[in-house]
């Protein structure tokens, strides 16, 4: 069975990201997954990678991956593609993962499919399902040239355990001078949040213009915390400066597809729907009965968010105590 390379990502704490486990599940459909681990920490991660089906783990423990932007990782993958002739390369559909995919595609003369929400084995290689135009159109794409490179959107493919050996193989690597053009001199981690990462969260609570102000937006954080959810914001909120841009959900900003998306005080313009309409369940709270968000909501509550949301938080608290 052909090898499938899976580029691992880890959190700031050094843990294997959930999306890497999801990639392993997708890779098993195409062949035997081999994880590519860049930098330190492979020993601690090995058990987890084995649990989710990694047959091999190629470990290149070089400081160049953290020291220079993207190019060293693409260079390592290109050399592994040349050595191992994998059936495909899977990367996380994060901004950085996609950049690695792009550079690797140029290096290997291969087609790249970004934003896949589903990956299946086709006759001529992997078939990626991609939501286009914010999910208005569903596309199935393939790669016709080179080694297929697929960037898979976090939170799309379920991570399922399937124990394998995860045999570690050290790979010697030093980045070429060409890959050292963009030097990272400082890595600043934003104040650690207790909340889950927006693109990986299974529940997202987003607030819109209806929250009225930065202070008013606080109620969104309270609801999110009562549900153990990530916080999102509409473009209107970010434009008004009530919440940081990093949390913007929409056509521009983050695209999310959690199990549950709660839209509070968001009208649901095309711009916003493009970032969240592939969510599994959608609940909306808005005072305007004509708001387009209600057209895509599984449950819509027409009412003032400042009375509905506190009651909801209280009810959630009561149910937790039972």
């Amino acid at each position: 069975m052909a090898e499938v390379l899976v580029l691992a990502e880890r959190t700031a704490d050094g843990e294997v990201k959930k999306v890497t486990l999801e990639l392993l599940s997708a890779a098993r459909r195409l062949g035997e997954p081999s994880v590519v681990w860049t930098g330190p920490g492979a020993d601690a991660a090995q058990a987890r990678l084995a649990e989710y089906g990694a047959v091999k783990v190629y470990v290149a423990d070089s400081p160049d991956f953290a020291g220079y932007v993207v190019a060293p990782t693409a260079e390592l993958l290109a050399s592994l593609v040349a050595d191992k002739s994998p059936a495909a390369v899977l990367v996380a559909g994060t901004t950085e993962g996609k950049e690695v995919a792009g550079r690797l595609a140029v290096k290997t003369g291969s087609g790249v499919l970004t934003d896949a929400v589903e990956v299946t084995a086709g006759d001529g290689g992997p078939v990626a399902e991609q939501p286009n135009f914010g999910g208005a159109v569903t596309v199935h794409s393939v790669v016709r040239t080179g080694t297929p490179i697929v960037a898979v959107r976090p939170n799309s493919v379920a991570a399922e355990p399937s124990p394998a050996a995860a045999t570690v193989e050290a790979v010697a690597f030093t980045a070429s001078d060409a890959a050292k053009g963009a030097k990272v001199t400082e890595h600043v981690v934003a104040a650690a949040s207790e909340r889950p990462e927006l693109s990986e969260a299974s529940i997202v609570v987003s607030g819109g213009r209806g929250t009225g102000s930065a202070d008013g937006f606080g109620i969104i954080e309270q609801l999110a915390d009562s549900l153990g959810a990530a916080v999102g914001a509409s473009r209107a909120v970010v434009d008004a400066g009530w919440y940081p841009h990093a949390f913007q959900v929409g056509q521009t900003g983050k695209t999310v597809s959690p199990q549950l998306y709660v839209a509070v005080g968001i009208s649901g313009a095309i711009q916003h729907r493009a970032g969240m309409q592939t969510s599994k369940t959608i609940m909306a709270i808005n005072k305007d009965a004509e708001a387009p968000i209600f057209e895509i909501a599984d449950l819509g509550i027409v009412g003032d968010l400042f009375t509905v949301v506190p009651q909801l938080i209280e009810e959630i608290g009561k149910r937790k105590q039972i």
Binding site: V69, E99, Q259, L299, G303
Partner: protein
């Protein structure tokens, strides 16, 4: 400094967009074209750099005849001149082919700094700036939330999922900027009038020494097999808050096992 901003015309994001049946390429004919919203931040940043450091801002766009509208808009914001890569052979280009055309055009035009928006709102691949940096063999200073230039050194704040990185590289370089890095200016009446007289050079595939097999649908390394309009979500329930809206919401969440 010779700054080149890469600008794409995209279908208006405020209306329903689709693909061309049988081709799986973006339907650009039936929808109004607009300048990619995220490119406006790249234009603004370039104008600011040129104002502070001196230099010239060139708009580079690869696209059909219609793209000329977006090029004029970019010029009306204050850019000095433009290059329009236009050739029927380019239609249906994927990201790999697009990056090839852009990189070859940049070699012809010449550049110290290339500036992109973070992605286009139509294909949303987000891979082209990295691809172009790879092709040109210059530093990739992408996803910048802040750009500082001192002599031939470019330092950016690269936005990451958990914060940011400070990244430095030397000119010539490729930069991409994120949404909200600045406040893009509106074209003034004077700017709009001036834009009509600014030079727009057109380049064909032959001018870039590219053959038609390397780009366009013919050269596409990735391929759309089929596509379908996503079925509308099944209509849900909409209820009016009668003092029990929060309780109803909680009951819904409990029923679906979210709480």
């Amino acid at each position: 400094m010779n700054i080149v901003v890469c600008v794409k015309q995209v279908p208006d994001t405020e209306v329903e967009r689709s693909l061309v049946p049988g081709q799986g390429t973006v339907d650009r004919a039936s929808v109004d074209g607009v300048i990619n919203y995220l490119d406006e931040f790249a234009i603004e940043e370039s104008l600011k750099i040129a104002e502070a450091q001196g230099g010239e801002v060139t708009i580079l766009s690869v696209g059909p005849a219609k793209a000329a509208e977006s090029i004029r808009k970019a010029l009306s914001m204050g850019a000095d001149k433009a290059v329009h890569v236009i050739d029927d052979g380019l239609a249906g280009s994927d990201a790999l082919a697009t990056s090839l055309a852009i990189a070859e055009a940049l070699k012809v035009v010449g550049f110290d700094l290339v500036v992109f928006g973070s992605e286009s709102t139509d294909a949303r691949t987000g891979v082209v700036p990295a691809m172009v940096a790879e092709r040109l063999g210059v530093p990739q200073l992408t996803l910048a939330g802040k750009v500082d230039i001192s002599g031939s050194e470019v330092t950016i704040r690269r936005v990451t999922d958990d914060g940011y990185e400070v990244v430095t590289g030397s000119l010539p370089a490729v930069v991409s900027v994120v949404e909200k890095i600045n406040e893009p200016r509106y074209p003034t009446f004077k700017g709009i009038m001036a834009a009509k007289k600014k030079p727009v050079q057109t380049l064909t595939l032959a001018d870039l020494s590219l053959d038609a097999g390397s780009v366009g649908l013919a050269g596409a390394a990735s391929w759309v097999e089929d596509f379908a309009k996503r079925p509308p979500r099944a209509a849900g329930v909409v209820v009016k808050d009668e003092g029990d809206g929060g309780a109803k919401a909680a009951a819904f969440l409990a029923e679906r096992k979210f709480i």
